[in-house]
């Protein structure tokens, strides 16, 4: 194979793997930065870095987890990422109840009546740590081991963080509902 053919195949392989992920990367970037313009810069930087580092990507491993990890690292080193790491909490669930309720509780009934817009509003109130783990698990349908790879944390910590993120989401839904009732 000639050099030009090889390089074309190299870029083509990157395009085939990376370009379909653009909507997913942009979606997570928006949730993390809460700013469309910053999100675009973040995704663009991610693609530039991923392309430069594509030679180190191991064929057969999870490309999606690899490029999401690059996005997250770019975010963490960005201005808004640094600000977020100074203020976010990894555990903000004091008194969270971890056992099922004996009967359908008002909380469970409320969740069953929830609409997408209410969940979006509740997601907006969560810290980036919680939002990203929920997006990776529920939207991107990644396995725990891939999420652990993206977030550079042990799989056991993914379980804990997901559990706390969902508890925080439920609390935000309940709080928003109570606020709506009192108006």
């Amino acid at each position: 194979m000639k050099v030009s053919e090889f390089s074309h195949a190299h870029t083509s392989a990157f395009d085939d793997l990376a370009l379909p992920l653009c909507p997913s990367l942009y979606n997570l970037a928006c949730w993390l930065t809460r700013n469309p313009s910053e999100a675009e810069d973040l995704v663009q930087e991610t693609y530039a870095k991923a392309l430069r580092g594509f030679g180190s990507f191991q064929t057969g491993t999870n490309f999606k987890a690899w490029i999401f990890r690059i996005l997250r690292n770019c975010f963490l080193s960005s201005r808004s990422g640094l600000a977020a790491t100074r203020t976010i909490s990894l555990d903000e669930s004091p008194g969270a109840v971890d056992t099922p309720d004996p009967e359908p509780s008002p909380e469970m009934q409320l969740i069953l009546r929830c609409q997408r817009e209410q969940v979006q509003a509740a997601l907006e109130q969560l810290s980036p740590d919680f939002v990203e783990v929920l997006i990776l698990c529920d939207v991107e349908e990644m396995k725990y081991r891939d999420i652990a790879d993206v977030l550079s944390i042990p799989a056991g910590t993914v379980m804990s963080r997901l559990s706390r993120a969902r508890a925080a989401l439920r609390r935000a839904l309940l709080a928003n509902h109570a606020q709506g009732q009192s108006r």
Binding site: V3, S4, F6, S7, H8, T11, D15, L19, C22, Y26, N27, C30, W31, P36, E40, V43, Y47, A48, L51, G55, S56, T87, S89, L90, D91, E92, S93, P94, G95, A96, D98, T99, P100, P102, E103, P104, E107, M108, I111, L112, C114, Q115, V119, L123, L134, I135, D138, V139, E141, K143, Y144, I153, P154, G156, T157, S160, L162, S163, R166, L169
Partner: protein
């Protein structure tokens, strides 16, 4: 299984996760227990709603074109590629050499312990149960852990109980007691002892000390930046409390 599923175990089922060894047991319990099955419904509903709500932002066609432009210039400068490819191959081999070696189990455990302890120390973190009363903290774990433990009546000098978390180490639920020795926070993880293995305390890292002790039924690991003699005294009081 003679208890209800914990929230994290429900999460495992909702997410289609779980080790091969434990998943059948969880599923069997779910079939038999109406209460847990009922709890699963809102969890599934919330997961579906989160999937819909989380997919909120879409890139504009113009932005997609800009991304294509990021990859396009690469196709025009290729004359140095053989040199680059050789260098990249050498680098890849070096990276593979260092990264394909899996961390030793002790190293992995050490990382998990430190991660959990540092998460507890983070600015806005509060224990899930915030109490210095052992008669409040210990019962809080009922139904959350597949084992039980005693908390000491008397703690070493200048040591106080702050609260507790339900945590997970190596995929297993553990009790995480939070203590304070003077101005230093200590995480003490209590897990059910696996009789087939001997607990080897992992090494500390990043300025934190890790000390471990065992009883016939429990493994106890303490993590803190406090000096080792203080950690050992706390561990000794906890292990002594496990004797009937």
């Amino acid at each position: 299984m003679n208890r209800h599923l914990t929230g994290a175990e429900l999460d495992l089922l909702v997410d289609g996760e779980g080790l091969v060894e434990i998943r059948p047991e969880l599923e069997a319990h779910l079939i038999a227990c109406q209460q847990c099955a009922a709890s699963m419904v809102p969890s599934l509903h919330l997961k579906r709603l989160t999937a819909e709500a989380g997919l909120r932002y879409h890139p504009s066609p113009d932005f997609a074109r800009r991304i294509l432009a990021v990859t396009a210039p690469r196709q025009t400068r290729r004359y140095w590629l053989p040199v680059f490819a050789t260098a990249a191959a050498c680098l890849l081999l070096a990276v593979l050499f260092f990264t394909t070696r899996k961390p030793a189990p002790q190293q992995a455990l050490s990382r998990e312990l430190l991660d959990q302890h540092i998460a507890m120390l983070s600015a806005r973190s509060q224990p899930q149960i915030l109490s210095s009363n052992k008669h409040v903290v210990r019962p809080w774990f009922q139904g959350k852990l597949p084992f039980t433990f005693n908390t000491p009546d008397t703690l070493p000098p200048e040591t106080e109980l702050i609260g507790a978390n339900l945590s997970y180490l190596q995929g297993k639920p553990v009790g995480d007691l939070i203590f304070k020795i003077r101005q230093h926070y200590v995480s003490v993880f209590l897990s059910q002892r696996d009789s087939s293995s001997v607990l080897e305390p992992p090494k500390g890292d990043a300025g934190f000390h890790i000390r471990a002790a065992s009883t016939p039924h429990l493994d106890v690991i303490a993590v803190s930046d406090v000096v080792n003699p203080d950690l050992d005294a706390l561990l000794a009081s906890i292990t002594a409390a496990q004797d009937p």
